[in-house]
Symmetry: D2
């Protein structure tokens, strides 16, 4: 049994992470923290855990070194790196669900976010997208868990770009459920501001755009145009990506390439020709469903669906943990999608 | 390992039942049937099962005797009893999720539903509400799984009535998510007829009223007024019940009585004074959360929340199976509520 | 043309009030205020008004005496009465959408809310439920606009109680869309806390209970038990009320009594026997739909649907204005319900 | 007063059309038909009209020639043209909300739909997008009302293409509320199949793609890639379109071009730089909101929001009627968006 700690557990990623860890056969939840709710039991903050997880919340700001084998940081950007620095000793595994360990290039991080409070950590961190970096993750002790949008966009585009099949301009139209915006009290996320409405936001300035761009630029000359939209639902991201092929590849053949690319990826499901993803069929699971279509004149359409809180955050964090600790990648993660 | 069969699996109760059985460590899904979709794989009908459950669907109307240890009937009222009759041999366990085995009194069934096609089965059937009939369920081979509304209403009211604490008139105001209405194509269940709206239905004529009434009348002189309402959401039932006490019992004391009454019931959670159930905190789980309040002048309010497809249908069916087969009651059923 | 002012216009009641006033043929919107957004145009806060209403917002706290013929106060409880006091001169009509002018009995207000900042106004104020107080409203200059739940509960119960037909205990189970909770940033009203969930709240302590109780107690010996619930939708209240008749009255006869009671009420629609209200068919309108059923053993069920922001707030405010100013009661208010 | 008839009024476009016509000062609703519901009053099918519109439904198949000045056909594709043929006499105005009069090119219609039952009408028909064909619509007697998606896509792209500013490949990512799918009982449109989910559909085969393509191809060499998605909400379409400019035009300058292009279009609102449309702020209105952004490297993003049932169907039909009959274009159509 490994001892796990969740720091900053009272947001949505924390709730989902605790839920996944509760069902993980090799994990003992040894530490849960929240500065706001310290002293309360986690089941008082999240009553779904009544009778199942009654751990009292400790202060995030206390010294928690040495108490866990793996620490999950569900903290605000900036705060997260400071904690990672305090906890990093080369022994314990630290998985950061904020953005602080996602960028190798400090300047890029600082343009998108803020002054980086612990840039000396960056050379030790692995970008935690297992489908791309499985080998690097084995034995890693510092993992930057990807953003939710980047997870969907990169997994959708990676095989195509890797094979040099896409022209430079790629248009990524993403739609996310509201839980991606977190649990802070903001007018824009009130029920009445979201239900029965649909809108794009942060066009040209969303922080996930450089994250998508820097990963894809590693394998191809690409310029990503990314537009996120807010869906009137709790969970799920669907990304539809468009562009032009450098050479025509029939749909069936491209699907074959994708199946090959993700042959060892237990959570990526490549759909049959003519079928396309639906967030309904991945929600509450760690699956990433991908479908696609090409046209003889060279256009392509890629569609990718994930649950933003599972494969897009907490499930992927546990997947990273499994790989880093040498456990089976799917351990504790064979969650079935819940529908209806 | 027990071999399980699900007959009529392509509705919502079927989907949820298969999902629960997939995670049950002692169950092998040996048979899935659907007359409409025979020949297809279940993952073609329910793509959430892609890569997890690819069983081909057999015709419901074929002879399935001897192929399973437990049969779950997710069939229309009337059809269900005919199947139960064909399969019932005193060996295999048959759990009917329709209404056909819920009523000891044929006349009552026939007034609410139709001519009963297999009334000779009724003396062998146990009403599958484990919190009331756990002893009878042990070793049972014919189980009538309760309705979703009755599960919530009976569990909310039973201890109060059992102790003779309620005056005759009890008002049961229930609200259900749309999945309770099934997966048939009906205009009234279209998204645009339900979303952003709320309405009562079947006032005075809902078939679950006699089911609630007959169970509660076994322990008290009671007249149930039942009004169901349709909630613009997928899953969950919340029942609020009102009436007058025969004698004043403080809230804390009544909560104590409820805790005693459900001491052996692993899925009933009695909340603390001042807390009330929320379907959010039971959805996708087999829990039944109950909260209550009394007033010095003798009025009482009871509130009960379940997931209509789990504790209100398929989860409860598996709970009944566990008990009937001598397994641990919670086996395969410790599903955590999913929120957000 | 009458000059209207809306103070505190940037909440949901403000938005709806402005929308109704925009369509009112006798009204000129002369003043819109908001301390938070002063200086902005209303269309910057509420982009639905782009190209239609571009009025700049003034500070609420400035002196607005003499600038309008009618002032609508969409301000917080407590703040509202202070403004009303400043503006009240016996000439201008003041309609308060907060609770400050709803209670004749200061003690009752103060138990439910806070110390009353302008109790000397109360003898001048009329409770703005036109169906009960139409005569008093004619020429009134100080109106306390009713709460949303009270509007639905009182209109549902009034004729029954007035005719002495109900036993003392009346159980009022109300369900409201989220807009009733206002536009403040609170975690409990975030999309993810509300969507796909349903819960009661403020059981036994909701401030609308004494408001309902005091109005109904004027015509009958009654004890109201009121439980509000939060619906996962934007707009609409449905109230279901239960109790026992003092003497049996057939459904058809009671419907007749209701039609008589509301003969002069242009916005109350009494449904036919067997039909019940649905919030779908009143939303975005000022209608109040009522249906009911009685049983030979003396039980009754009443169902009432309104749009909480129209008949439950801003529409009713304009209805009160029409009556107070001597205009046609339906002037500018013949809004058709919007469905789907 | 003009006499209007609505044929096939019991779907969603019928409901919205009747609602708009009810509020139109120059219209008398003289005829409402439905083969399915003949004999009932419209308020029995759509209870929102109780007390407002109680017209009995006549059979659609009867002979209605000479009874109206304007006929709106809300009938299935194919059926619609047959009716149009029967009613067309050069006097009465006929507005078809199906697809039968949208294509000048019969072959194109027949590839997307079916054998055309009245192709001789096509030379007389005007494509009813007033922002493009206002002059042609004046005095027209046969109007093919555009599809909902095409309305949003064409209005978004037209000025850009007209000025020769876009490279050939244009990617149109559209998202629609469920009411666009009509009111037929289909499993795919059930609440539980749509709520809390999001999916693309009809990729590469949607019938609105050739409609968009043929209109835009009139002004530019363009290849439209169109992917529609189903939003878990009732009303609204948001279209996001992507592509490359033939030459860089700054955002502000392009916005200026759009304002010029729609200078005479009372329902098109071009937003300020940095602002983007939200379906919330157009729903229940006839507005079309457009925002856009360009990048120095030549990429562009266009965003357009409409209410699919108003500007995307029934509101636009009334707009076409106003123009054809010589009324003010905005007559009866100054509906304010309803939010929340």
């Amino acid at each position: 049994m490994w001892r796990a700690g969740v720091l900053g557990a009272t947001g949505y990623t924390g709730a989902v992470l605790l839920s996944v860890l509760c069902g993980h056969p090799d994990i003992n939840i040894a530490l849960i923290t929240s500065n706001t709710h310290r002293g309360k039991k986690i089941s008082e903050v999240f009553p779904q855990f009544r009778g199942r997880l009654e751990t009292p919340l400790q202060a995030t700001d206390d010294d928690h070194r040495g108490t866990c084998d793996v620490y999950f940081l569900c903290l605000p950007h900036g705060v997260s790196a400071t904690q990672a620095k305090a906890l990093f000793d080369g022994q314990a595994l630290i998985i950061d669900l904020a953005a602080d360990l996602r960028f190798e290039d400090v300047a890029l991080y600082e343009r998108a976010y803020m002054a980086h409070p612990a840039k000396e950590l960056l050379p030790h961190a692995v970008y935690g997208l297992p489908e791309l970096y499985r080998e690097k993750l084995k034995g890693a002790r510092l993992v930057g868990n990807p953003g939710c949008y980047p997870t969907s966009a990169i997994l959708a585009l990676f095989p195509l770009l890797k094979h040099g099949l896409a022209e430079r301009n790629v248009f990524v139209d993403s739609k996310s459920g509201v839980s991606g915006a977190g649990r802070d009290a903001k007018v824009g996320n009130l029920f009445c501001e979201v239900a029965e409405g649909f809108r794009p936001y942060s066009i040209g300035v969303h922080r996930h755009e450089p994250e998508i761009q820097k990963e894809l630029a590693k394998v191809a000359d690409v310029k990503v145009t990314f537009v996120p939209h807010l869906l009137p639902m709790n969970r799920g991201i669907l990304t539809t990506a468009y562009g032009s092929l450098t050479q025509y590849v029939p749909t069936a053949e491209l699907l074959h390439l994708y199946r090959e690319a993700y042959r060892d990826a237990p959570f990526v499901r490549i759909l049959d020709e003519g079928a396309y993803p639906d967030t309904r069929f991945v929600r509450y699971s760690n699956y990433c469903d991908i479908g696609l279509k090409t046209f003889e004149d060279g256009r392509f359409i890629l569609v990718c669906a994930i649950d933003n809180l599972v494969k897009g955050a907490s499930g992927q964090a546990v997947q990273n943990m499994n790989i880093a600790l040498g456990l089976e990648e799917t351990r504790g993660l064979m969650l079935l999608p819940q529908y209806p």
